[in-house]
Structure formats: C-alpha cells, structure tokens
C-alpha cells in the first residue's frame, strides 16, 4: 500500500461511478448511506460483465480453455483481496457476505467446541451479524453470550471488558469500526488480552476494510470478516480471513462440491485451504468484481481514502453540531473514528428525516442499523445515520444538512 497517496480528486473520481450522475425526485443524487452499501465503479461492473460475456465457465475442474480462464480470473480476485489486507491467499476464504463469514466460525467451530459454562464475549456495539450467530450456537451448545458495555462517549469500556474476560471466555467477537457510532476499537490490544486467557478472537471488519489501510496479520486475531458490497464490490460475496493454523485445525462448515479431497460412502476428506471452506460453485463473477474493487481501492490508496474520510467526517460533525437540539452519537474527534455519523432530533423521527431529505435527493438511513442492543444502550428506538465514502464531497454534506433543516420545518 502506498503511504503517501495523492489526495482524492472527488470530481474526477465521481466520473468512475455511473449511478452518481442520476437524479432522485429531480435533484442530484446525494448518496450518504455507504455504511449500508457502497456504490460501484464501472471498473467493477465491467470486470463482471466481461467475465460473463467472454469466459463464463465453472471453475477449478474444467480442462478446457474457457474453464482455465475462469479459474484464473476467480483466483486472481482472491489474490487482490489478500494483497489488500496483507494476508496469505490460503487464509482468504470467500463467503457470500460478512454474516456468513461469522456464521462459518460460529457453526463450524462453535457447535463442535462449545459446552455449557463456556462464554462468548461480544460488545454492546456489535452488528446483529456478530451477535445472533453466537446466540444461536449458544442455544444449541448451552454456552453463554456476554456483552461488554459501551461508555456514554460511545467507546468500548475496556475495564469492564477486561473484567468480563475470564478463563471461561472461549471466543471474543468485536467490531473493528462501529457502523452506528463510528468508534474504532483497539482490536490488536483486545486480541492480546483475549489470547492471554486462551480465547479466540473474531474481528468484524465490515466497516474498516473499505475505509482505511488494514493489515490483518498485524492485528493478530484468529478470524477477520468483511463484506464485498461495502467496499465497492458486488453483492453476494464476503470474506473470512483466518489464521492458517486455526483454519487448518478446524473441521469444515458447508459440505459439497469443491471442498473435498475424496468422498466415499464411508466418509470424506477435505481439500486444502482455502477451498476446504468453499462448498459448491463459488461466487465466481462476484470474486472477480471484488478483485477489481480491491485493485481500484489500492490504486486510489487506502491512506488517501482514510484521509478523505477524516476530512468529510470533520465537516459532517461540524455541520450537524450546529443543528439545534441534535444528539450526535459516538466519538467527536474525526481522527479516531470512522465516517458513519448517527444522530437524533427531539422532534423528528428518523423515518421522517430519511423520507423528507430523500425528496431533495439525499439518501440517509433511518432505523436500528442492525444494532438493537446498542439502540437500547443509547436509549433510542432508532437513529438517523449519514455515512460517507471516497466519492462524497463536503458540498454534499451541506446539501444534506440544509435538507434536514427543511424537513424540520415541514413537520413543525
């Protein structure tokens, strides 16, 4: 990864994203919901389209030219992703989304390992995808899910976390960057602490990998999950990076084609990593699209992406801070947080905010953001959330904040 990438030229870069020239209700699209899903550059769409039009075939087993080309493009997609997060290719397992990546660990490892008395420790700021799989597997095995609390400032309470981390803890699940609060968690330190008590660590990097340089091996965690559609890639693909030794020791999850070495009526043996965890026809076009997305992000430079985000987040926090009566959740320093900014107004429900600013072309999210336990901690049912990405400009934030003012007047 380049360490001194050129700053992002938003105007030039926006031309790469076909959707950004569309209008909504007659107004230019102002897309501020990249924490839910990102838009896609033409390079990603073209890579997938070209695959289908030129060399579509099933991968890995075909002898003929078409199949060899398809396999090469598919595995090159994996290589690009591996390069982006600094992980060896055999540790990069392709799934259908981040949720499946986490469930893979919960089911394949958890169902076979957990016992009554064992604990899984997650945080109150987890996305449902890093809570519900553990609840389900705890329900099957008799293990218990515990929640490390969040401080009023929206950070993980590290003392409370340390107190909850015991010899009973078998797995720690922690989000790298919160999709609600923007909080960046100290995942390397958490990993160190968890390993001291012998627990494994799964980091949910769905909101970090798209937005900042991430070197998975240097975190030291056992599992690291993220998702394609939030990082300029297509839907239908996610990633689980595992420590090779941990993946080697694990029994497989989904069974089927591709993941076997031999199958007999008496039993089966497994393929090498990473294919051991990839059953059935994989998301071929999606891996190719994700590879193109990773290449695009590396070409722009993840440092530049992050620097742009810090700038936009500073502007967002400033502009929203001036709205009367607003509550903004999460850390206030843009340098230590991600770009998802949640807020609430005393007199305007998030649904109405989202509906009304949409009339001026602005897309923001309203709801619990798949983090209901966190909503309860924050004392709200729902929040509105604006989130930026490399293609957003400060002017768009101004359009949004103006629309927010208009919305408020409309329902006064």
């Amino acid at each position: 990864m380049s360490t001194a990438a050129a700053p992002i030229d938003v105007t030039a870069l926006r031309a790469d994203f076909p959707i950004l020239s569309r209008t909504v209700h007659g107004a230019p699209l102002v897309y501020l919901d990249s924490a839910a899903t990102s838009q896609k550059p033409a390079a990603v769409l073209d890579a997938m389209d070209a695959y289908y039009r030129e060399t579509n075939a099933n991968v890995h087993r075909g002898v003929y030219e078409l199949a060899a080309e398809a396999t090469a493009r598919y595995e090159a997609g994996r290589d690009a992703v591996a390069r982006m997060v600094g992980a060896p290719r055999e540790s990069v397992v392709l799934t259908k989304n981040a949720s499946e990546a986490i469930n893979l660990v919960a089911w394949a490892w958890g169902v076979r390992t957990l016992k009554p008395g064992d604990e899984i420790l997650v945080t109150e700021m987890e996305h449902h995808s890093n809570i519900v799989p553990w609840q389900i597997v705890a329900g099957i095995t008799g293990a218990t899910v515990r929640f490390a609390p969040v401080t009023p400032g929206g950070e993980l309470d590290m003392d409370a976390f340390a107190a909850l981390l015991t010899e009973r803890t078998r797995m720690v699940g922690v989000v790298h960057v919160s999709n609600v609060l923007g909080t960046i968690n100290p995942v390397a330190e958490i990993t160190r602490m968890a390993h001291e008590v012998g627990a494994l660590v799964l980091v949910d990097g769905s909101q970090s990998v798209p937005h900042m340089p991430v070197d998975v091996p240097s975190i030291g965690c056992d599992f690291f999950a993220f998702t394609g559609h939030k990082m300029l890639g297509p839907t239908g693909i996610g990633v689980l990076v595992g420590r090779t030794a941990v993946l080697e020791a694990m029994e497989p999850f989904l069974g089927g084609g591709e993941m076997i070495s031999n199958v007999t009526q008496q039993g089966s043996t497994w393929a090498d990593l990473p294919w051991k965890f990839e059953a059935g026809t994989p998301p071929i076009a999606e891996a190719i699209g994700l590879g193109a997305a990773a290449d695009y992000l590396m070409a722009v430079g993840l440092d530049a992406v992050r620097a742009h985000e810090v700038e936009l987040t500073a502007h967002m926090l400033d502009a929203l801070g001036q709205v009367e009566g607003i509550t903004v959740f999460g850390p206030r320093d843009p340098a230590v947080r991600g770009g998802a900014v949640s807020f609430s107004l005393p007199d305007l429900h998030p649904h109405d905010i989202a509906q009304l600013v949409d009339q001026e072309g602005v897309c923001v999210r309203a709801g619990h953001h798949c983090a209901k336990p966190l909503m309860r901690v924050l004392g709200v049912g729902a929040t509105a959330r604006a989130s930026t990405y490399l293609y957003n400009s400060a002017e768009e934030i101004d359009v949004f904040v103006r629309a927010l003012g208009n919305a408020r007047l409309a329902l006064k």
Partner: protein, 149 residues
C-alpha cells in the same frame, strides 16, 4: 415537501401532532407490545373490552409521523366496534395498505387519509404497526377467553 403530499397531508399531521388515545388505561382488559422490526420502534397498546365491544383504546410508544398518526386514527376507528367488526376493519385497512382494496371511509374514518401510503412499501409497515397490535390484542383476548371457557 414536493411529491410527499400523500404522506404528509394536513389530516395526517394533525393526528401526529395531537394523538388521539395517547396514554394508559387503569385496568385494561388486554395489553400488547408490538415492534417494527424495520426501524426498531416499539409501541404499547391497551384495550378495554366490554360485552364483546371495544370500549376504550390507549397507546404509548415511539414512532414516526405515519405510525403515530395511524395509531391515533386506529384508536378512533375501532372504539365502539364489536370484536368481529374491529377485526374486519383491521383486515380492510391491511388490504388497503397492500393496494388490494379501495379504502372505505365509512369503516376507516380519518384513516382513509393514509390510503396514499400504499405507494411507499417501507412506510406501510409503519402505518400497519398500531393496527396489527390491535388485531393481536383482540385475538389474544379471544384465545384467552376460550381457554377460560
């Protein structure tokens, strides 16, 4: 507000600003909680039922303008109705929201103003929240009645 006249009509905003039925009953015949899984809103609904008729409705909870206005309108529409008629009106409102029936003002009262919500599938959930709570409350009452009998 441009094209949102359907959603934010005066009548709807009036119910949103001055909710009918907001509050609690002393000793309700039946009470239920309902949540909107799409946004996290949670409401609490209480009914008094006397001789097979809904005599009083009260509600508390959070929600957007549509869900709050709809709940207010529902409170007016169902009070005084027999359980069977109330369930029938709820079903009619559900059909209207799904675009399968034309709204009947005689049955819906002010809630006829919500007819345009059908064009906004996400907000349909908001509009239905209170009505589904009412259905749940009545059916809970009927089931428990049967269990006692």
């Amino acid at each position: 507000m441009g094209g949102l006249d359907d959603l934010y009509q005066d009548l709807i905003l009036d119910h949103y600003r001055r909710k009918r039925g907001e509050g609690s009953l002393d000793n309700p015949t039946v009470a239920v909680d309902q949540n909107n899984p799409l946004c996290g809103d949670e409401i609490h609904l209480e009914l008094n039922i006397v001789d097979g008729t809904v005599t009083e409705i009260a509600h508390t909870g959070e929600g957007c303008s549509i869900s709050q206005a709809s709940m207010s309108m529902m409170s007016e529409a169902l009070v005084g109705k027999s359980l069977e008629d109330a369930l029938e009106v709820v079903e009619h409102f559900r059909m209207v929201m799904h675009g399968s029936e034309q709204g009947d003002e005689d049955r819906l009262g002010d809630a006829i103003a919500l007819e345009g919500v059908a064009k906004y599938p996400v907000r349909v959930k908001c509009a239905l929240l209170g009505w589904m709570a009412a259905k749940d409350a009545i059916q809970t009452y009927q089931r428990e009645g049967e269990e006692v009998a």
